[in-house]
């Protein structure tokens, strides 16, 4: 039996108090939840750092901080291209929207690649989740890899989402609202890095 969905008609519904699509609302709620998750991990890092008498501050300007600055630049730029993608999708310029999404996706992948190189560099120096080559608190490696690892997971997830979105926008499977929802997530990943970079890198500069 075919039953028609009653609630598709705006006149028969109460208006959403925020006037945004449900998908967007859910993404905002997810961002709120995810922000709390990052706060918890950063709190754990701060708690252990404050409680530790021999915390290591290993980062020198070249290569670690410089690399981090370039990564920050790349991620911030990807925020800009994401903005352009959302604007293009809103204006109905699907081809341009797709191009900007791919640009964002590539920048995100570049960020992830640079981050993994940074990881490799640190692992080669002897840093592990449970090991500090400088002989200080072992929590440095644990905090560094788990905080940046959590962020890296979000970036990789975002890169995959951006690729799917770029393909779907082109084929018509996704619309401008889906691009906007992806944008909310991507800007959040961007914003979190603005906390991770100073707290993990700059505060641990030599």
């Amino acid at each position: 039996m075919e039953v028609s969905a009653g609630h598709g008609h705006a006149g028969l519904m109460e208006e959403s108090p925020y006037g945004i699509p449900s998908g967007k609302l859910a993404m905002w709620c997810f961002v709120l939840s995810d922000a709390v998750t990052f706060s918890a991990v950063l709190f754990a890092y701060g708690y252990l750092r404050v409680g530790s008498p021999d915390w290591s501050t290993p980062f020198v300007f070249v290569p670690s901080i410089l690399n981090g600055l370039v990564m920050t630049f790349v991620l911030l730029t990807s925020g800009l291209t994401m903005l352009a993608a959302v604007e293009a999708a809103k204006a109905g310029r699907t081809a341009a929207g797709t191009r900007w999404l791919w640009a964002t996706c590539v920048l995100g992948a570049l960020f992830a690649a640079m981050h993994l190189m940074e990881w490799r560099h640190m692992i080669e120096e002897g840093w592990r989740l449970f090991q500090n080559p400088l002989g200080g608190a072992v929590q440095f490696g644990a905090a560094f890899f788990s905080v940046t690892g959590l962020h890296l997971l979000h970036v990789v997830g975002g890169v995959v989402a951006l690729a799917i979105m770029a393909l779907g926008l082109r084929s018509g499977k996704y619309n401008r609202i889906d691009v906007e929802i992806t944008g909310i997530y991507w800007h959040f990943v961007d914003l979190v890095w603005m906390f991770v970079f100073p707290l993990i890198y700059l505060m641990n500069a030599k």
Partner: protein, 591 residues
């Protein structure tokens, strides 16, 4: 925002026909609600049997329990449980009850079934994500159950999994190996399921309300589910990374929660620099809001059901919603009251004590609103209304001991005694369970189309009501007498005289537990043999009573309801009946 709603309604509303799509992998929120409820029922039966085993051991510590050795040869040689196995059963009892009963049934179970109907929607905002949330939760349950069958058995560290006991691994005892890892994994998965569920609840409440269903007209139950979702969104978000860090400590060699120089079983642990208190902070930042995740839906359900049987609205409906919201808000500021004796700075105890006492204000206002509303009402004494009144009773009994425990100086003595056990079982456990019972007797006719037996229901209520007081009231006395919790036996000199009290509690627990079989029988028997339920058997006003019994696949048979009234118009003078349904356009002149 036509586009907004069109997007929200972007799923098909064609009833599926195959058995799998209809009952197993269903996207229908009603089936998912029943699945959550069923999972809760299975979990509560397991949890209850575990509590029987524990109680038997506490009363008669040398008693052989037939068959126990089969379940765990190492944990119960000769059918007598070891102290370690007692702790395993306690851990599983707590974890099962808190996560899979008190969170699942009143919030995810009833919430899934009735939240969309009460707002007048055809389904949740994201039906497929809704289905996923149940299957994630079921996976989490199965992972936890697997701990019974792995070498070493279930973990020993309690539902709070305090580090370093939970973090160091096998060296800390049987069950601290694979069993504890499964615990961490299970809870991490559970957090994901709750996150998905919460997103759905929030979006549905805000975006899918039918014409006329303003926020002020939402039933209390919907308000409570909505506020609980917001709490859950942030609380489980902390438990998830905490569990992952715990698993890292256990498997990847990190030392987040393990201090230096820890010697266990004469072995120096290869960890340094971590903080056991960090786990407590992270856990209780989740754990205290979790208490309200269990009790706020219960408050909402009871406030929803009571007016239907008092035949008059609750006093101060907006005040009550304000109370629920402020309890939710304050729940994030009090986690440290679980840590008064943890070694945390004693000055910060004051910081956590004050907001804890402040929480009692909205809780007390809500209680006074219920009592004030009941006063002078001509109550229809059905089983559902009895359980609502029982809820108010146990909520008060459990709440009063909270005043004591909220004060650091008193808690220093009472911490980790049976006084605390009595407190949280009354106010969180029994109160929420009573609300689940009230909800079951009230809503089951709508859910399965048949009335439950009232005589059996009333016998069930009175046995349970008297039973829980016999179980938990003496525990206050035990706690004041210095009886610490989490001991497997009390053969020690100063606790030995208290053993008869424990034996009394054990007998009470067995009888009360057996009384629950009446409920299970009633549930199953009524499902097939109960008299057919009409569309509105309780003469109630909210939207779930405006549709067929049981509701069709899209809830309202293709109709889009229009809401004209607030939620609880009972005992209206000058109306055509003594109540006005939310969908009725009837207007009555008020003088």
């Amino acid at each position: 925002m036509s586009e907004a709603t069109a997007h929200a309604a972007g799923h098909q509303h064609t009833a599926p026909t195959g058995f799998m799509r209809k009952y197993i992998f269903s996207v229908d929120h009603k089936v998912i609600g029943l699945q959550y409820y069923g999972l809760g029922l299975v979990a509560v039966l397991i949890g209850m049997v575990l509590s029987w085993l524990m109680r038997l051991h506490l009363g008669w510590s040398t008693l052989a329990i037939p068959g126990l050795e089969k379940l765990s040869p190492a944990g119960a040689p000769g059918n007598v449980m070891t102290p370690e196995y007692y702790l395993s059963l306690m851990t599983m009892h707590g974890t099962i009850m808190v996560f899979f009963v008190l969170t699942n049934a009143p919030f995810s179970g009833f919430g899934n079934y009735f939240l969309p109907i009460q707002v007048g929607a055809a389904d949740m905002a994201f039906p497929r994500m809704n289905m996923m949330s149940f299957w994630v939760t079921l996976t989490s349950f199965l992972v936890l159950m697997a701990a019974f069958f792995v070498p070493g058995g279930p973990p020993l560290s309690g539902w709070t999994a305090y580090a370093p006991l939970s973090a160091v691994g096998q060296a800390a005892g049987p069950g601290q190996g694979l069993g504890q890892s499964l615990w961490g994994l299970s809870i991490a998965i559970f957090c994901v399921g709750q996150l998905l569920g919460s997103l759905n609840f929030i979006a549905t409440t805000l975006d899918l309300r039918t014409k006329g269903m303003s926020l002020a007209r939402l039933p209390f139950s919907t308000w409570a589910w909505f506020i609980t979702s917001v709490i859950g969104l942030m609380a489980f978000a902390v438990l998830l990374p905490a569990c992952i860090l715990l698993i890292l400590d256990r498997t990847a060699g990190t030392s987040f929660f393990i201090p230096a120089g820890l010697v266990i079983n004469d072995q120096l642990q290869p960890h340094a620099g971590g903080s056991p208190l960090l786990w407590q902070h992270l856990f209780w930042f989740f754990g205290h809001p979790e208490v309200y995740i269990a009790i706020l839906p219960a408050i909402g359900i009871v406030s929803h059901i009571l007016p239907a049987f008092m035949r008059k609205p609750l006093l101060g409906p907006r005040v009550l919603v304000g109370c629920i919201a402020s309890i939710g808000f304050l729940s994030y500021m009090v986690w440290g009251h679980h840590m008064f004796v943890s070694g945390m700075n004693p000055f910060s105890a004051i910081l956590f004590s004050v907001p804890t006492l402040v929480i009692t204000i909205p809780a007390t206002i809500a209680t006074l609103l219920w009592i004030g509303s009941v006063y002078g009402a001509r109550i229809r004494f059905t089983t559902a209304s009895l359980f609502c009144l029982g809820f108010v009773s146990v909520f008060i009994s459990g709440g009063i001991s909270g005043f004591f425990l909220a004060q650091p100086s008193i808690d220093t003595y009472l911490h980790a005694t049976y006084f605390v056990v009595a407190h949280f079982h009354f106010v969180m456990g029994v109160a929420a369970i009573f609300a689940i019972f009230a909800g079951t007797y009230f809503w089951m006719p709508k859910m399965v189309g048949r009335m439950m037996n009232e005589t059996l229901g009333k016998i069930h209520f009175w046995l349970t009501f008297v039973g829980v007081y016999c179980i938990f009231m003496p525990m206050h006395y035990l706690g004041l007498a210095g009886n610490v919790r989490r001991y497997a036996a009390f053969t020690d000199d100063f606790l030995a005289p208290l053993i008869p009290v424990h034996q009394f509690i054990t007998i009470a627990a067995l009888v009360t537990g057996a009384a629950q079989l009446i409920f299970v029988f009633n549930l199953i028997w009524s499902r097939f043999r109960g008299p057919k339920a009409s569309d509105n058997p309780w003469e109630a006003t909210s939207l779930e009573w405006s549709t067929a019994t049981p509701p069709p696949f899209d809830n309202f048979g293709g109709k889009q309801l229009v809401v004209h009234q607030e939620a609880y118009l009972y005992g209206v003078e000058g109306a055509s009946a003594d109540y006005i349904m939310q969908t009725s356009p009837e207007t009555v002149k008020t003088s």
